[in-house]
């Protein structure tokens, strides 16, 4: 399953990158969200899946899956959330002030 999941996350990366390279702000932010989803899947997959019970000692299993990736992903999820929220509101404000969400139009007078 690990290999499968790594490939899934690779596909997500591809799609996310394509979205990120878009001109439309919303697509970009969606791409960023997908990018971090892919990262979380990658992080947990390459460190071995289902190698034991959930890391809850009450489960009385012989082995537990590695809790470290889970802890890292948790932190990362929360941070991604904070960043996505900030980015979204920034895009929203930009749209209101500058009237566009097209990154092409946000170039500024390149090289003033």
């Amino acid at each position: 399953m690990e290999t499968f999941m790594i490939i899934i996350s690779g596909i997500l990366y591809t799609i996310a990158t394509y979205l990120i390279l878009n001109k439309n702000f919303l697509r970009i932010v969606l791409g960023v969200t997908l990018f971090s989803h892919a990262t979380h899947i990658m992080l947990i997959s390459i460190n071995g899946l289902k190698r034991g019970a959930a890391p809850l000692l009450g489960e009385n299993a012989e082995a537990y899956t590695d809790p470290i990736p889970q802890a890292l992903i948790l932190t990362s999820i929360v941070i991604s959330f904070a960043l996505t929220a900030l980015l979204l509101v920034l895009g929203y404000r930009t749209y209101i002030e500058l009237g566009t969400d097209n990154m092409k139009k946000l170039r500024g007078e390149s090289h003033e």
């Binding site: 990120i20 702000f25 970009i28 960023v32 990018f35 971090s36 990262t39 990658m42 992080l43 390459i46 460190n47 470290i68 990736p69 890292l72 932190t75 990362s76 941070i79 991604s80 904070a82 960043l83 996505t84 900030l86 980015l87 920034l90 895009g91 404000r93 930009t94 002030e97 500058l98 990154m103 946000l106 500024g108 090289h111 003033e112």
Partner: protein, 495 residues
């Protein structure tokens, strides 16, 4: 004793949180933030003293020993940078007391500045790669807020790019850490160093190091600096000064740290790439600096050039060159603060940063003029200011290693630095005085105190370079001998 290390991180943090409760009491906010910074500086200096006379400080957070918990490691490199960062923040803050608008002050600008510093200090001190990511995020999120604060069109336009690019960089950081953990099974820098050394840093690890290089290159402006000029021109001058002095330097520090502590086994691949990245960075930065006629843009490109120069020393990687890079890094933090603060004051005074629209300021702001001029000289590396010593040290290292071509690039770009910054001096301070005192948008006098202090520091650092070098040498010692770091973390006393 080791708890000392936490103070540079939590003093600003606690102060920031307290400030949230005093939103409308600006004077009180200023007092609290200045005092907390003073305390941070004081403690940092004490830590430097301790580390220099005793040993590398290691704090096992939560009492969990490495590699299981997170450790803070205060080697000379980290603790000096902590002190300088706190000091520079104080300078920018002093400058900002008058020049920042009341609206900003009521909208959490001080807490954000303090949080930024907390993240910066955390990044310097942490001994854990994932914690480094988190510290980065603390620093970055504060910078996102600061850069967009005020919501001017240019700010929004630039900050959206800044945030976007950095968010992607942050994700890459997580990816790299994912791979690294999968490959080594640990997150602790010292432990990583040991394990990487055990494998001799094979291909996968080198490839991972390049993901880190991409991330840190982005943060520091090494080659991947495209976001920087726009972003640094957007926020109000005190914030721009803070960014210029601190943010990219954290990126530089991480390159320095990771490529001396973790990925130092294949310099023929990694360091060669860094070398040419540095060279291209210097060239492109210099071209950018020369091509502009706005103070903010010129100064922003100067940030890039110096990053290239510092990392040139890192790429050379010899003890001499590393010392030089570290020396230059400190110099650059101080002088960038100086030039951005004084340059910011010019912008404050004229209300614009377009060089062609003003002149003759020296008639009623002579001190500002001279402070800026000294800043110019410091940037260009004119002796006996600190930039000169750093430059010489890097060049000594580089030429000993036979890197003539990039050394020449380094010097040619310092000329272009001179050209670009001198242009600012000449166009703003010299020429016919078109404006009389009292007509300015702002007096610009708030830059004088921090400017003077910084000039004194820069001069003292150049003239007293030998004294500074005793500390720099201690920092370099750890860089060239990672075992010192590892032993400190794992408490093995070396024979």
């Amino acid at each position: 004793m080791s708890n000392l290390l936490i103070y540079p991180i939590i003093i600003p943090l606690l102060a920031a949180m307290v400030l949230v409760f005093f939103r409308d009491r600006i004077k009180l906010q200023q007092w609290i933030s200045a005092l907390s910074l003073l305390a941070t500086i004081g403690i940092s200096i004490y830590i430097i003293h301790y580390v220099s006379t005793e040993q590398i400080l290691v704090l096992e957070l939560g009492g969990w020993a490495a590699p299981y918990g997170i450790v803070l490691v205060g080697d000379m490199l980290a603790v000096i940078l902590t002190a300088v960062a706190s000091f520079v923040t104080l300078m920018c803050l002093l400058y900002g007391f008058q020049s920042i608008e009341t609206g900003h002050k009521k909208h959490f600008i001080y807490p954000m500045i303090l949080i930024l510093l907390s993240g910066v200090n955390g990044s310097f001190l942490t001994g854990d790669i994932f914690n480094l990511f988190v510290c980065f995020e603390v620093m970055l999120i504060a910078s996102y807020v600061l850069i967009a604060l005020g919501g001017k069109k240019i700010q929004l336009r630039e900050s959206i790019k800044y945030v976007l690019i950095n968010v992607i960089a942050s994700t890459l950081f997580v990816i790299a850490t994912a791979y690294l953990y999968a490959a080594t099974g640990t997150l602790n820098l010292a432990h990583l160093s040991e394990r990487i050394a055990e494998t001799g840093q094979d291909g996968l690890l080198t490839a991972i190091s390049f993901i880190y290089l991409t991330v840190f290159g982005l943060k520091s402006g090494l080659l991947l600096f495209f976001w920087l000029p726009g972003s640094y021109s957007a926020p109000p001058p005190p914030i721009a000064a803070l960014f210029a002095a601190l943010l990219t330097k954290v990126g530089v520090y991480t390159v320095l740290r990771t490529f001396t502590l973790l990925f130092y086994h294949k310099p023929e691949i990694t360091h060669t790439i860094i070398l040419w990245m540095a060279a291209i960075t210097m060239i492109l930065g210099a071209l950018g600096a020369v091509s502009h006629w706005e103070i903010k843009k010129i100064l922003s490109y100067n940030v890039i050039i110096s990053v290239g120069f510092i990392l040139f020393g890192v790429a050379v990687g010899t003890e001499q060159a590393l010392s030089g890079s570290f020396f230059y890094l400190i110099h650059d933090m101080l002088s960038k603060a100086l030039i951005f603060i004084t340059g910011g004051a010019i912008i404050n005074i004229f209300g614009t940063d377009k060089l062609k629209e003003f002149s003759g300021l020296i008639l009623f702001r002579p001190l500002l003029g001279w402070l800026f001029f000294i800043g110019v000289l410091a940037l260009a590396g004119v002796p006996p200011l600190s930039g000169f010593v750093g430059k010489v040290m890097i060049l000594q290292g580089a030429l000993s290693a036979g890197e003539l071509a990039v050394s020449i690039i380094g010097l040619v770009t310092s000329l272009m630095v001179l050209y670009s910054v001198l242009k600012i001096f000449i166009h703003s301070f010299w020429g016919e005085t078109l404006m009389s005192e009292g007509q300015e948008y702002s007096t610009g006098k708030h830059a004088l105190l921090p400017g003077t202090i910084l000039v004194v520091c820069i001069a003292a650092m150049g003239l007293g370079a030998e004294w500074v070098n005793t500390y720099v040498a201690q920092a370099t010692e750890v860089m060239v001998n990672p075992n010192l770091y590892i032993e400190a973390v794992f408490k093995q006393i070396s024979p």
